[in-house]
Amino acid sequence: MSGVSMAVDLGGIRMANPIGTASGTFGCGRQFEGFYDVGRLGAITTKGCSAEPWNGNPAPRVCEVTSGIMNSVGLQNPGVREFVAHEGAYLSGLAERGCAVICQVVGHSIEEYASALELYEELAPFAAGFEVNISCPNVAAGGLAMGSTPERAAEVMRALRPLTRRPVLVKMAPSRVPETARALEDAGADALSLINTIPAMSIDVRTRRSRLSRPTAGLSGPLVHPIAVRMVWEAHNAVGIPINGIGGVMSGQDAAEFILAGATTVSVGTANLVQPDSAPRILAELERWAESQGVHDINELIGAFEC
C-alpha cells in the first residue's frame, strides 16, 4: 500500500487515481479485461461516437514511423445508440467498480455533436462525464477540423454546454494551444484533454503514394511526448480548469512529466496497443515516483515544475 493519496478531481469527475486511457486506443475497456482488472484505472475514455454510425476510412489505417505510429481510422463508430446497446452493461459495471467512464462525442457539425451528446445524456447514466473531440472534419467548412481555430472550438463548446450538467471535457488538437484553451474555458469547458494526434504524412517513395489510405493521418506514440508536455504546460499557464495530459505516455516517468507540467490526470493511448498491460504498470510507476518525491497527496505535484 502506498502512502500517497492518488485521488484527483478532473473538473468534477472524481477519479481514484490520475491514470486513464485515451479515446480510440482502448476499445470500450472490455478488450483489456484479459490482461488486468480495468476497474483499477482512474478512468477510461470511450471511442468517439456520433449520433449516426460512421464508416471511417478505407484500409490501410495504420503504419509505423520512427518511434510512433500513424492512424487514419477516421472515427469509425457504430453510433451512440448501438454503442450503448452493446457496451452499456459492461460500462455500468465498470463504473460501479470505481473506474470513471468518460464518453467521447464526435460530429461533423454543431448539430451532430449536440445529437450525440443528447443521446448519451439520455442513454448513459453510467457516464461520469463527456469528452468532446473537436478534431473531426467540419463538413460546413470544407473538411477543416471543427477545432481548427479558437473561435470555432469555442462555438462547439458553447452549443453543448446547456445540454448536460455532467462535466464536459474538450479534446484539443495540437495547435494554437493557449488561445484555444482560453476560448474553451470561457465557453464553459470543465476540463481540457490534450493532445490529440498530430497531423503527419508518410510516403512510400517507391509507389509515390501515402502509406495509408489518405494523404495525411494522425501521429501518436512516444515521439509526440515532448511536444505534448509543452502543450500541457502552455494550457496550464493559460487557464484555471484542470487538464488531462495525453501523448506518448509509455512509463510512469512520462506521466509524471505531464503532472509536473500541470496535468491533473494522464491518459495512456498508443501504449495500450503495443503493450496491453501498460496502464496499470504506468499507474504503479507513477505512485512510486510520487512516494519518492515525499508528498502525501499526488495533487501537491500538479504543476510543480520549477522553471
Binding site: 495504420v62 505510429i69 469509425q76 503495443v274 498491460d277
Partner: protein, 265 residues
Amino acid sequence: MGLVVARQTAGLHECEVVGNGPDAKGIFLLRMRAEGLSRALAPGQFVNVAVPGDATQILRVPLSCSGILPDEGLVEISYAVVGDGTRRLSEVPVGTSLGVVGPCGHGWGPIEGKALLVAGGIGAAPIVCEARRLGVEGVPFDAALGAQSAARLWGEAALARAGAGEVLVATDDGSAGIAGFATLAAERLLAKGGYSCVLCCGPQPLMAAVAGLAGKAGVPCLVSLERMMSCGFGACCTCNVSLVGGRQASCCMDGPVFDASEVVW
C-alpha cells in the same frame, strides 16, 4: 461450417524461442515454448509478436500459427521475411523470450464434408495448421498450393503428411508443379467437384479470385484476410474489413477468417 467459434480472450504470454531458422527460400520456422497458448490456440487464429532489436519500431508483428502442439507445449509459426520486422524476427536467437499477445481472432471453425484448401506463398501457414486438424479429425481434403518458385514453395510435404487426398502445386515460373498461380490449381481441383467448402489464404488477389471461383461453383468459401494491425485484440479499429452492406468488421476480432461472400473485394 461457420464462424461461431467461442472467442478466447487474448492474454500476454512470455514464450521462449526453442527453434528459429530457414525452412524454404525466404521462409523461416519459429518454434516457441508456450504451454498456455498451445492449449488455447485453434487453427486460423494468430498471435501478435513483439520483435526485439529496434526500439524505434513499436508495433508488434501479427503471425498465424502454422503448428499447434499442446502435448509438447509448443507453438509453431512459419513466416516470410518481407520487411524489417520479419527480418529482425529471423535474427532472434534460441533462448530469447518473446512477448506474445494471443490467441487473437477466431479460427476456421468446424468443417464438414470434403474441404478444398487453397494457399499462396506464406498464406500456407494457417492452411497447413488447419490441414493437420482436418487430418486428425478425419475430414477429407485436397489442397491447391502456389508459390513463386520451387525454392520458395512451402507446405507441400506438410499437407501430404496431414492426409491430403491430392496436393496440386503451381509455381509462377513453373519450376515445380503446373506453371501459373495457385488460382489455376484451385480451378482445376474445383472442377472435379465434391467439395463442401473452400478455405483460402494468400495474397489478396488470390483470395479474391478464389472467392469468385467458389462462388461460381456454389461452394462456400472462407478466407483468412490480412490487414495492417496495431493491437490485434479489438481495441483500436485500425484493421477494418469492409463487408457487403456497408458494415465495417475488424480483421483481428471478427476475422482474420471471413466468409468470402461477405467481404467487399
